[in-house]
């Protein structure tokens, strides 16, 4: 009605112009929150053709008429159409749920993007969407003062064996399980559906509880999904820690390689706990390598160790200073250093990777190391893994002895360099000293790693051995 009244006022404008004006106003109203205040200065924001129309119209209409027109338009706009139709800019489709775009609902048989099968089996996300989600996650985690922790399962948090591989010396464990049914602290479980026996690493429950207050946790394992879900039920019966955050082998985008591309979190906040470095080629800087937990005999055999496993010796890592307890201290320290208020209030540019490097470098700081009969002399010394490990731990390595050398690493007391070390009262240790320092995050006492101590077969568990020697 009011429109009709207005058109009579616009004597010099044809009905066509008015319709075009209405159209342009409708478009403007949807993309501009304050369409017109009757203010000429607003015109800078509008396209030239529309501006000219408005200026033409303003010549004939008073600001009152514009007001009433504006009242009519919003109602017209909202009936029948959703705000969706006006603001959606799809393609590019952000992601797909079973082929349907998650923003506009169109079916696109597009196999692009990364599959997130661990969240829902038919979900795929594009790169732009993942970047957006990672950014949002970064902000919310920094606000809550949390970092991200990715945990491996086998040999890191637990050790499993198939029931058929249980040897006679381990059968006492099967008998123990029946008595454990209601024990809240039990660490030995029988997974009948998978025909496996699982032993949780000591301290794991406390570890998870304490870590969850500082980190958002994910499970990332190379095992199958059915196994991973069963283990997640054991570690997290309340679905508090790992709900829809269990990533398995099927979710990896590259064969035999784990990647942070399927993790919806910023790389600069991620700390990874895993016993193998090989699978994390692209993200070595985020990795804290843990010592393998070999509880069952089958696990030792698998890795080629002939020593007796913890189950055969009826022993276990101590809770108070076992591998998980040590790593927890390091994690707490990293977290504290990251959120240190002394570094200023802007946390968004910080990165956890240089912090980890820094903490590692402190372990063997000040040590100057020479290797003797540890690797072949014709090989490139700097490429040797033990050289690299020592350098990562903050030591300086060199190939020749000189007065500033502090340690000689050798497997044999009879070498030239070994003699030089004893003559000059330098430390003479076997290579396990470096490995133990790496896993225990502390410079180990050189007396415990003398060359005569080097066992004929490699030790299986540095942590257990270190705990023994402390006793």
């Amino acid at each position: 009605m009011s429109l009709g009244a207005e058109s009579s006022l616009q004597s010099s404008s044809s009905s066509e112009d008015f319709a075009a004006f209405l159209d342009s106003e409708l478009e403007l109203a949807s993309c501009d929150s304050s369409p017109n205040e009757g203010d000429v200065t607003n015109n800078e924001e509008i396209d030239p053709p529309q501006r000219s129309k408005r200026q033409k119209m303003e010549g004939f209409e008073t600001s009152e008429d514009l007001e009433t027109e504006r009242l009519v338009k919003p109602i017209e706009e909202h009936i029948g159409t959703s705000t969706l139709g006006k603001n959606v800019i799809c393609p590019p489709h952000p992601g797909f749920f079973k082929g349907l775009c998650i923003r506009c609902g169109q079916i696109e048989e597009d196999e692009s993007g990364v599959a997130f099968g661990y969240i829902h089996k038919d979900l795929r996300l594009g790169n732009v969407e993942m970047a957006r989600l990672r950014g949002a996650d970064l902000k919310s985690l920094l606000h809550k003062k949390k970092l991200i922790l990715i945990l491996d399962l086998d040999h890191t948090l637990l050790n499993s064996t198939r029931l058929v591989d249980v040897i006679s010396d381990e059968e006492y464990l099967l008998r123990q399980i029946d008595g454990m049914k209601d024990d809240p602290d039990r660490s030995l479980f029988r997974l009948d559906s998978m025909h496996m026996l699982t032993k949780l690493r000591p301290f794991v429950n406390n570890f998870l509880k304490e870590a969850s207050s500082l980190f958002e946790m994910y499970i990332y394992t190379m095992a199958e999904r059915s196994y991973a879900i069963e283990i997640a039920k054991l570690l997290d019966p309340g679905k508090v820690y790992f709900d829809s955050k269990v990533i398995t082998q099927a979710d990896c985008t590259q064969r035999h390689q784990k990647g942070l591309d399927v993790v919806l979190g910023a790389e600069s906040l991620v700390v990874i706990l895993d016993d193998t470095e090989v699978v994390w080629q692209r993200h070595k800087d985020n990795l804290i390598q843990m010592e393998r937990y070999h509880f069952f005999a089958s696990s030792c055999r698998q890795f080629g160790f002939n020593a007796k496993s913890l189950s055969e010796l009826m022993k276990d890592e101590r809770e108070s200073d076992g591998a998980l307890a040590t790593v927890l201290k390091i994690l707490k320290r990293t977290h504290q250093m990251f959120f240190d208020p002394a570094l200023g209030s802007d946390v968004s540019t910080r990165d956890v990777r240089p912090l980890l490097k820094g903490i590692r470098r402190e372990i063997l700081q000040g040590c100057k190391i020479v290797f003797s009969r540890v690797f072949p002399s014709n090989s490139l010394a700097q490429d040797q893994p033990i050289w690299k490990m020592a350098e990562q731990l903050g030591a300086t390595c060199c190939t020749e002895v000189d007065p500033s050398v502090t340690h000689v690493i050798s497997t044999d007391t009879g070498t030239q360099k070994a003699h030089w070390a004893t003559q000059n009262k330098k430390f003479l240790v076997n290579p396990h000293w470096i490995e133990a320092s790496n896993f225990l995050w502390q410079r180990q006492k050189e007396e415990n790693f003398s060359i005569s101590n080097l066992p004929s077969h490699t030790t299986v568990d540095c942590t257990a051995k270190a705990q023994e020697s402390v006793q």
Binding site: P94, C101, A136, S244
Partner: protein, 177 residues
């Protein structure tokens, strides 16, 4: 939306079932085969309400199977684009939430959740408004609008939105007044 429609199907029956209870066996087989399946045209067949007509059986050449054209009435469920549905939330994560309305699975991504609702992770992940008045978590009932559907042999998938007027949480589980 639910519909009560008449459908037709050719049922094959093995000769061992021939006898006085032929019709009952045919109806039982029909129910077993059809209830719980989906088709793109009718949607999800929820239940068969009655058999209207069973035509004359035709013996197939070579095998002894007999084909009966069966006309039956069934309740079917088919979501349409633009339809408004009530659904129960089954999973909430940072990308959005999954809800179920009967046999239909609906995903509402956070693009289509109002901007003032933020994701809160924790032991009960949820989407909450800044003042905490509205909360979407597992087992909440929401009213949503379907913007896309896709049907395969056993399931129907939809994308939904709650960004429009009158959409969103209907009922909060465990709300403390």
């Amino acid at each position: 939306m639910f519909f009560h429609i008449t459908l037709e199907r050719n049922m094959q029956l093995h000769p061992r079932h021939f006898g006085p209870h032929l019709r009952d066996k045919l109806v039982a087989k029909l129910m077993k085969d059809v209830e719980g399946t989906c088709s793109g045209r009718h949607g999800f067949v929820v239940a068969i309400t009655g058999v209207e007509d069973i035509g004359k059986g035709l013996i197939r050449e070579g095998t002894g199977f007999v084909t009966f054209p069966v006309k039956y009435q069934a309740v079917v469920f088919r979501p349409f684009k633009g339809e408004i549905l009530e659904a129960v939330v089954t999973m909430v994560n940072k990308m959005g939430f999954f809800a179920e309305a009967g046999p239909v699975q609906i995903f509402v991504s956070n693009h289509l959740i109002p901007d003032d609702m933020e994701f809160q992770s924790g032991d009960m992940p949820n989407y909450t408004t800044s003042d905490g008045s509205v909360k979407i978590q597992k087992d909440s009932e929401v009213r949503l609008k379907i913007i896309g559907t896709r049907v395969d042999a056993t399931e129907i998938f939809c994308i939904g939105t709650i960004k429009d007027d009158f959409l969103g949480v209907i009922n909060d589980p465990g709300v403390t007044a």
